[in-house]
Symmetry: C2
Subunit: 189 residues, 2 copies
């Protein structure tokens, strides 16, 4: 029976047990939200590291093939979540992500909205515009129209939010929290 070596865990070495947990969980959640696990982990790692990393290093830390990292980085760049930087005296590309979670959220919301939400709104509009739409029974027509209206409202809210600075958003959130505490206090009383 061979002596079992402690499996080397570069991720843990790099960001500690807590950081490891964070990165792995993020990957897990990502895949539930239709984001490739590796992509999500990679983004979490860059966020946590808070400094530019090159592909080789990422590949070693996440223990994923270099080529896979390349693809994932490309994906993150398409999402405007990662950008390339260069360090003096080093030919390699370094990659980094924004440090501010509000900024990140804004980017993600903007991109998902553009890719998934807006097209759906468009499809709903087209459905309603379609001459065949009138054939549907009136109640169903109403439901579709209400759905469109709901999505348009949300779309508007989102655009509104996307126009705000991170600092403003954070302030708004704190304000919301305060209001909620008040509301809860009132209910409890």
């Amino acid at each position: 029976m061979p002596v079992k070596m402690k499996a080397p865990d570069p991720l843990r070495e790099r960001v500690g047990a807590a950081g490891q947990r964070f990165v792995l969980h993020w990957g897990e959640m990502g895949s539930r939200w239709g984001v490739n696990r590796t992509v999500a982990q990679l983004h979490a790692l860059l966020f946590l590291a808070g400094r530019p990393m090159h592909a080789e290093e990422i590949s070693a830390v996440l223990q994923v093939a270099r080529s896979n990292i390349s693809t994932s980085l490309r994906e993150l760049q398409n999402w405007s979540l990662v950008r390339v930087v260069h360090l003096m005296g080093d030919r390699r590309d370094y990659y980094q992500t924004a440090q501010d979670p509000w900024e990140l959220m804004r980017i993600i919301v903007r991109e998902r909205k553009a890719r998934e939400f807006d097209p759906t709104v468009r499809v709903l509009r087209e459905c309603i515009a379609d001459p065949a739409f009138g054939e549907l029974d009136p109640a169903a027509q109403k439901r579709v129209r209400e759905t469109l209206s709901l999505m348009e409202s949300l779309s508007g809210w989102a655009d509104e939010m996307l126009g705000l600075e991170s600092a403003t958003l954070a302030r708004l959130a704190r304000l919301g929290a305060k209001v909620q505490r008040l509301a809860r206090g009132k209910k409890a009383a």
Copy 2:
């Protein structure tokens, strides 16, 4: 060369071209959001139909195996999006979903939040509580704390929203739209 029959399309027959577009697109979008395509289509169909349907009929309309429909219905019931009803003189189970899009949205937000958002908040709290967390460099610690704070804010907002009636939500949305129009008008002026 055999004469090509017009492929029968029960979905189209049932809900027309516009409805078909709606159902198929919904399925497409669902799978992008981590929802099984069949499940999403099925829900869209029930929403559009606006009346209880039995599994056999759904199976025929969506052209999907009876058993697959069964599984998908179970899934939707777990999400509280579909419930069983019975019609006089018919032994079969009939399934229906809420008619009100706001109601549906509320349910979906509630469920996804409970399954995916809240656990992440918990993990973040645990990461921060972990003694190993202190080993991270202070800037990274700050980022994680900010992330937690962001998610807690969102969580609070969501809970707030979940407490409201559909009618209230719809009113709020209309209000939001009005505010947006005003804001845009002001900017334009």
